[in-house]
């Protein structure tokens, strides 16, 4: 029963109290939305109490807020062990700072007689609650380590469920007592905000951060030049320290994820056997292709005629690619008479390789700039970017016994010899021959 009250009743009571109380105080008593200043009454201890306390509580506040607002980012952050430890350490140090600051503040209230005039009983309640809350937090952080990792899935889930108006306390009901106390006390403190000096957290002078730059008069030109050497040295030093801090911070941030990667870049990858094998296979394949290419080149340098295909393989509508004597791509078709038609496939425009498929009008097309070439004459269609026809290549056809039965010249003329027999064309083989004056690259 008490558990239900602490984790379901109390939260809504607290939220209601904060909303209504804060609204009342902001609208009706707006000049009290602050923490009563006591700096004039006592300032020696104040800076040793107030500064560490506020610094610490800000860090802790941000550390509690970010996982609530940006859970994905937070999860990404704490995934990295180094960041997790850095964050936890920062939180712990901030907690210790809070405790020290609070202790100083409490002692100050007690031992300074002037202060007691402006101290209300509620102030002490607030001090004690805050101190207990921070101590509970520190104990939690110390004994149930890495709250940054477990809290998002449990405490924050509970928190969300409360905010979604379907409170689900299964997340927290079996938690250790310390954590439960931390959560319950948080609701109590929240509830007290509008009725105590804690209300001042709603009047943070945020506009200082965004207001337009204001000219501070004592740094005008004349004064600037009159500044003492010492001041100038101090200023230079301040810039220097800020600079070093910035650059060190940048280097530190970069070392998470970026610099370490660039280190690995030079170290290279250690591959497992399967990957290594796959890579080697790829390289071998490339080498085979290169070897093939070189052997083509050698073949062309040494031979007067080179076999490119069986006559029966050639088709009228789809060309077969081969390499001509100048190591350029070329296409072989079969013409209407059943004889080969060999054309250079290097586009006379800018040297792309012409496509192998013949369209309905007996043309092949270069994909680069859409030049259509007639496959019989090699002449480009009017309007194509080039006017130079594709060359015909010199060839001859041999029967199976090696006799030459037909030949074609670079000018496109074709002739058959007496031995030509269309019935035997299944066995004929097509060769390209070295034409005069052609040099091999």
């Amino acid at each position: 029963m008490i558990i239900q009250f602490l984790f379901i009743g109390l939260p809504y009571a607290a939220i209601a109290a904060v909303v209504i109380g804060t609204y009342y105080r902001l609208t009706r008593k707006e000049y009290t939305v602050s923490s009563l200043s006591s700096q004039f009454l006592e300032s020696k201890y104040l800076k040793w109490g107030s500064v560490p306390w506020h610094l610490g509580i800000l860090v802790i506040f941000v550390g509690h807020l970010v996982p609530f607002l940006l859970p994905d980012l937070w999860a990404d952050l704490v995934k990295h062990r180094s960041i997790l430890i850095a964050l936890e350490a920062a939180g712990f140090v901030a907690g210790v700072m809070c405790v020290l600051g609070l202790v100083v503040l409490i002692i100050r209230r007690i031992i300074t007689s002037t202060l007691q005039l402006v101290t209300k009983p509620l102030d002490f309640v607030v001090y004690v609650l805050l101190l207990s809350q921070i101590l509970l937090g520190l104990v939690t952080a110390y004994s149930y380590r890495y709250g940054s990792v477990w809290a998002p899935g449990t405490v924050y889930a509970y928190l969300f469920s409360v905010l979604r108006l379907s409170p689900d306390m299964t997340y927290v009901q079996d938690m250790p007592f310390v954590i439960q106390a931390h959560i319950a006390l948080a609701w109590v403190i929240l509830m007290l905000i509008p009725f105590t000096r804690l209300i001042h957290m709603f009047s943070i002078p945020l506009e200082y951060l965004f207001r337009l730059p204001q000219k501070v008069v004592w740094t005008n030109e004349v004064r600037w030049n009159r500044r003492s050497e010492r001041a100038q040295y101090m200023e230079s030093r301040r810039y220097f320290f800020r600079g070093v801090a910035g650059v060190t911070g940048a280097a530190g941030l970069l070392s998470f994820g970026v610099l370490e990667k660039s280190g690995h870049y030079f170290q290279g990858q250690t591959l497992d056997d399967a990957k290594e094998a796959a890579l080697l296979e790829k390289r071998l394949k490339r080498m085979k292709l290169t070897t093939e290419e070189k052997s083509y080149e050698l073949e062309r340098l040494k031979n007067e005629a080179i076999y490119i295909a069986d006559l029966k393989e050639l088709q009228p509508a789809t060309g077969k690619y081969f390499i001509d004597y100048e190591m350029r791509p070329a296409l072989a078709f079969r013409d209407a008479k059943g004889l080969p038609n060999l054309l250079s496939a290097k586009c006379t425009h800018l040297g792309c390789t012409v496509g192998k498929d013949v369209d309905g009008q007996g043309r092949i097309v270069c994909p680069c700039h859409v030049s259509y070439f007639d496959i019989h004459t090699g002449v480009p269609q009017a309007g194509s970017p080039t006017e130079i026809p594709l060359e015909h290549l010199a060839w001859h056809v041999r029967a199976s016994d090696g006799t030459i039965v037909a030949h074609g010249a670079p000018d496109g003329t074709v002739a058959t010899t007496a031995a030509y027999d269309a019935a035997k064309s299944e066995t004929y083989k097509v060769f390209i021959i070295k034409s005069k004056g052609v040099t091999v690259a």
Partner: protein, 192 residues
Amino acid sequence: MVRMICLLAFAATMLQAYPEFQKFSQTHSGRTVNCGMCHASPEGPDGLSFGQVGSLDSVQMELLKDARRAQQPGMDVNNPVLNPFGNKLVRVMGVRLLVDAKKDPAMLHFYLKDAGDMDGDGVTDAQEFLDGTNPDNRYHGDPLALFLTNVQHHLFEIVMIFMATGAGMFGLSNLLMAFAAGGEGKKRSNSV
């Protein structure tokens, strides 16, 4: 040898490329697509080069035959003339459906819809087919889709780089200011 040649001829007629899919992907996306989307060789399965029917040894020939028998979906195939995406198609759809789908290539998207994202670039294989991008290359895909996925994926690095750049610029500016202030002080003390 004769058997081999027969087999080659048989394989070539049975296992020709399906340019219908290529044409569909190309017109749908406006990007150039070639046989390399599904085949091991960008020039398609016929031929003598690497990844084409003519280059296969007897072990690979067996694999090819197995793959052709995979009429039904769900068979584990490893066809040497196909690339991983091509093999995945056969695995997901089976040869029969695949051949059927030639009539309406958009169906491929339907069958692949829940078949995942094999290169892990955040764009599903089905979508990559429509986009005309390489489903088996994690650095290839619709630029906008890739950008959005990668931003989500690398949010941590991006935040880090942002803070690091900010801190670095802050530091550098202050160092320069320190340098300038120092230089000025010296200048004055010299002139005094």
